[in-house]
């Protein structure tokens, strides 16, 4: 392959990856805005499969993507009068404490069974909210 052709191919892949990047951002944003969370669970597989990011890096990179989105969405939700300090402050303190524990636990527990249990709990909560 001539170097000119090679350059052309690289440019094409580059463009394709930029389109995937925009798609990833758009999907993460819409989920984050409508549902106030859960965007990360969408971003991680998109980073891995579309943008060929290694799984471990994808988890960390997802936080960098979701953080600005949560700040923007949080400001809009608060401006619409949806934030409630009575719930927000105790829950926020809990999240920080729990988050530290979770990050420390991560290296110690096998996550396969934990993920499966979590899926069952999530599905049960989902069915309850969807139907009842």
């Amino acid at each position: 392959m001539s170097s000119k052709q090679k350059q052309k191919n690289e440019l094409r892949t580059d463009k394709k990856l930029n389109v995937y990047a925009v798609l990833t951002g758009l999907s993460a944003g819409i989920i984050n805005g409508v549902f106030g969370g859960g965007g990360g669970m969408l971003v991680v597989p998109m980073l891995v499969h579309l943008l060929k990011c290694p799984a471990k890096k994808a988890h960390a990179t997802a936080i960098l993507i979701i953080l600005p989105l949560s700040i923007v969405s949080g400001i809009f939700y608060a401006a619409f009068g949806n934030f409630n300090l009575e719930v927000g402050i105790p829950a926020g303190i809990g999240v920080i404490l729990g988050g530290t524990v979770g990050a420390l636990l991560l290296s110690k527990l096998s996550s396969k069974w934990l993920t499966i249990i979590f899926c069952v709990v999530m599905a049960a909560a989902g069915v309850k909210m969807l139907l009842f």
């Binding site: 925009v22 944003g29 549902f35 960390a60 969405s73 719930v87 402050i89 920080i96 636990l105 069915v127």
Partner: protein, 122 residues
Amino acid sequence: MKYVWFGIAGVLGGVLGGMGMGGGTLLIPLLNIFYKVGQHTAQAVNLLSFIPMAVVALIIHIKNKLVNFKRIIWIILPGVVSCIAGCYIAKSLSGYLLARCFGGFLVLLSVFQFVSEIKRKN
């Protein structure tokens, strides 16, 4: 006493969030199902309580060189635009309808995660 319960919901959501399993997807239904917090409020609380934890986690991950900055602007900028659109969509829905949609979203997510976990080789 109710503050303690909100705190406990936060801890449970936080543990999962810290483990990278999507804490918000637990905190929001906990607040909605057990504490009867309105769906919009539960979502707002989740968004804002995520911020301090994410900042700390991000600093650690950047130090460990786990964050991939390539094309990040191509992801974040469209994301900001669509999340603002998403906020207006959420605002236009009643709490009742938003909670039902969120339930459907949770079911889809759990099926998707279950399948990919089963497929994953370790």
